[in-house]
């Protein structure tokens, strides 16, 4: 089974990398970009076909390692 975990910074947390990318887009004259926030995507392959089990496994993975929940949110999508 395939899944995708997206980790993003919580709103209000300063994202210097996002800001730098925003500036670079501006310097490329790519107009109409209001703001950029950078995150991370993890594509994960899982054993078994039980979606509930998969969701529990991924929640544990996010809480324990993939995200730092002090400053980050995570979202789990199971294909």
């Amino acid at each position: 089974m395939k899944a995708r975990v997206t980790v993003t910074l919580k709103s209000g947390v300063l994202d210097p990398q996002g800001k730098a990318i925003e500036g670079a887009l501006r310097s490329l004259s790519i107009d109409g970009v209001r703001s950029v926030r950078q995150g991370k995507i993890f594509d994960i392959e899982l054993d078994g076909e039980d979606r509930d089990v998969a969701r529990r496994t991924l929640s544990k993975a996010c809480e324990r390692l993939l995200a730092n929940t002090i400053v980050e949110n995570y979202e789990i999508e199971i294909a």
Partner: protein, 227 residues
């Protein structure tokens, strides 16, 4: 005082920490590997050194914080044992949940490497009792991700419990935006846990123990630990 320095893949300041302990505390520290499961019997102090453990993959300190030896370090801290995390070691302690908050990328995105003044905010701990309260010291800083952040409630708790060990300041001890090298909340450079037996700080006291290399402001920290 029996000390152990933990070596993670990508640590690069473990010899500096070991040298400071040997020179000031007068006793060689054990160097342990991240894959070890136990601390040597009778360990009083664990030092997590600076560097770039696991290449800062995922988040700085995140993978090191989940390595086998950290279970032993957590048990040591829970028993009231002393733990000192310097630079990457501070990042690891936050990721391991042994200290509050998190170290984010420096607000101006630049790696900072320079001498930096700090004000000793709480001189009552086992780590800082060698300093007069409010004393201004000069340590080296070298980091790209030293921007200490925590939610408002946590910051209030840290401040209320006097868990701030050091704050970034100027030579006169002024704590303001101009003396903040990385954007840290309230200029926080180092924090204790609630029991004051765990300290994490971004600056490098272990590099300021010999007049030959720029000063001795780091000595009182190691002397206090050895006493």
């Amino acid at each position: 005082m029996k000390a152990a320095v933990i070596l993670f893949p990508g640590s690069n300041r473990e010899q500096d920490a070991a040298r400071a302990l040997r020179q000031v505390a007068g006793r060689a520290a054990a160097i342990l590997w991240h894959a070890d499961h136990d601390l040597p019997q009778g360990t009083d102090l664990v030092v997590l050194p600076g560097g770039f453990s696991y290449g800062d993959y995922l988040r700085c300190g995140a993978i090191a914080a989940r390595s086998p030896i950290m279970q032993a370090v957590s048990r040591h801290a829970a028993r009231g044992g002393l733990v000192l995390g310097i630079c990457n070691g501070f990042q690891i302690l936050c990721e391991a949940g042994l200290l509050p908050g998190v170290l984010m990328r420096n607000a101006d995105r630049r790696f900072v490497c320079k001498m930096q003044h700090l004000r000793v905010e709480n001189a009552a701990s086992r780590f800082t009792r060698g300093y007069a309260p409010g004393r201004v010291v000069k340590f080296a800083i070298a980091h790209g991700e030293g921007n200490f952040e925590a939610d408002d409630e946590t910051v209030r708790a840290i401040e209320g419990n006097r868990q701030v060990a050091f704050r970034y300041c100027d030579a006169e001890g002024r704590v303001d935006e101009a003396s903040n090298p990385n954007g840290s909340e309230n200029n926080i450079a180092g924090v204790f846990n609630e029991r004051f037996n765990v300290l994490g700080l971004m600056p490098h006291p272990e590099n300021l123990i010999d007049p030959l290399v720029g000063g001795v402001d780091g000595r009182p920290l190691f002397e206090a630990l050895a006493a």
